[in-house]
Symmetry: C2
Subunit: 223 residues, 2 copies
DNA sequence: CCAAAAGTGTTAACGCTACACCCATGT
DNA sequence: ACATGGGTGTAGCGTTAACACTTTTGG
């Protein structure tokens, strides 16, 4: 690489955008903010913004994540860097997309005065998005599906303790298909990702379900 | 994303670096250039450089690839964007790494006066690399191994016509393990990636081998 | 005729899929 | 007692992995 940094006429701004995902009621949701200024006033977009001079892309993504959801210590992964020349009408901006997985018991949406609104949107029913954000969301969804099959990322979308059905629901909502209960349990048990807590979940007029917890909250390849 | 482009004090340079890979004699090779200026004078590094104001990252990667190898129309994929604050001692530079697969019959190394030298290095015996380039090469190698198993990228590393053994050699050198001849052929034939040309390769004192060619030179997921 | 790589099938183990009934609880 | 979700086993099928000999050429 030849970054001899003689006066170069490069003036490209660097941003990050987060695809923040959670699962509620068996459906996948993405966090979007509503833009309050033109040219995309009123439209929805991924939360993000410019990187600061002295922070890494990952730090920037974490910073914006915290600003919107007040969570930290969640799964955060770089997705892809988008660089179309006219992706931002306001100037030359490239954006590095991250995706974050937020468990349903943890987040609290922040009302940021800078944006008109912030809301979870069902990923199947998204509004029109600003910039190239529709493309980014699609990319993120696909990556999540891959990750789910080959790693233990699912832990990032569940509370500390959960039932086998909760876990299966997460898989089904991400993969978009229903799975066989017995085969699912068998696969999960074989992988040794989770451990029974001994406790039971009493959730209504039926047999209580065993509660599990993840053995390790570190990303691991299980395939 | 809030790129309202009010005067921001962001001054981050954006570069690309290429992990250009080929296979020769059953071994994986990476193209490195030798730096002619301090602070890394004499050390080896990945070919790359700053992105121009009006080009995408992918275009920039293609441009540097062509400069070094005089090839175009080869497989080129974005790897990851590296952004450590002090990864470049000369200033704040983030780099988007790409990897390129070059077939052995196609390239011609360009002698670029800007660099002391450019050479193929066996990936198992790399010299000390400048910047964070060792990390980038490792990352690229891992990605290539994944891609090989789930897609038909191998076409990018072979000449138009090749024998089954040539193909197997590519797989073995990337995966770093030897494969069973019969099972390998069976798998490849089932995947329908290749087609016999009817021709034979006469390469010495042994039975001639059938020559094959790829049906499609477009990246496809085959798993 | 000898050396060298090409080409070819079968079997056993394993993993994946499909599938139906009983259990524990609240009302 | 009934409605609701929780929990369990097995058999068939397809896929993968292991394994050795014959063929065709050049020297």
């Amino acid at each position: 690489m030849a970054t001899t940094l003689k006066p170069v006429k490069q003036d490209i701004k660097v941003a990050v955008d987060n695809v923040i995902v959670t699962v509620k009621d068996g459906e996948l949701f993405v966090l979007l903010i509503q833009m309050s200024k033109s040219p995309y006033k009123g439209m929805w977009a991924l939360p993000g913004g410019l990187v600061e001079q002295k922070e890494t892309l990952e730090n920037a993504a974490g910073r914006f994540l915290k600003k919107q959801t007040s969570v930290s210590n969640v799964y955060l992964e770089q997705l892809y860097t988008f660089s179309d020349i006219s992706r931002d009408p306001a100037g030359r901006v490239i954006t590095c997309a991250y995706f974050a997985l937020v468990p349903p018991d943890k987040y609290e949406l922040q009302t940021n005065p800078k944006y008109a609104d912030a809301q979870w949107w069902n990923i199947k029913k998204l509004p029109a998005l600003a910039y190239d954000h529709e493309q980014i969301v699609k990319y993120g969804k696909k990556r999540l599906q891959w990750k789910l099959e080959y790693t233990n990322v699912a832990w990032s979308l569940l509370p500390k303790e959960f039932t086998m059905s909760d876990l299966q629901e997460v898989y089904e909502s991400i993969l978009g298909e229903s799975l066989d209960k017995r085969n699912f349990r068998k696969k999960i048990v074989e992988q040794k990702m989770i451990r029974p807590t001994g406790k039971k979940a009493m959730r209504g007029a039926h047999r209580p379900a065993e509660l599990f917890t993840f053995r390790s909250k570190v990303a691991k390849i299980i395939a």
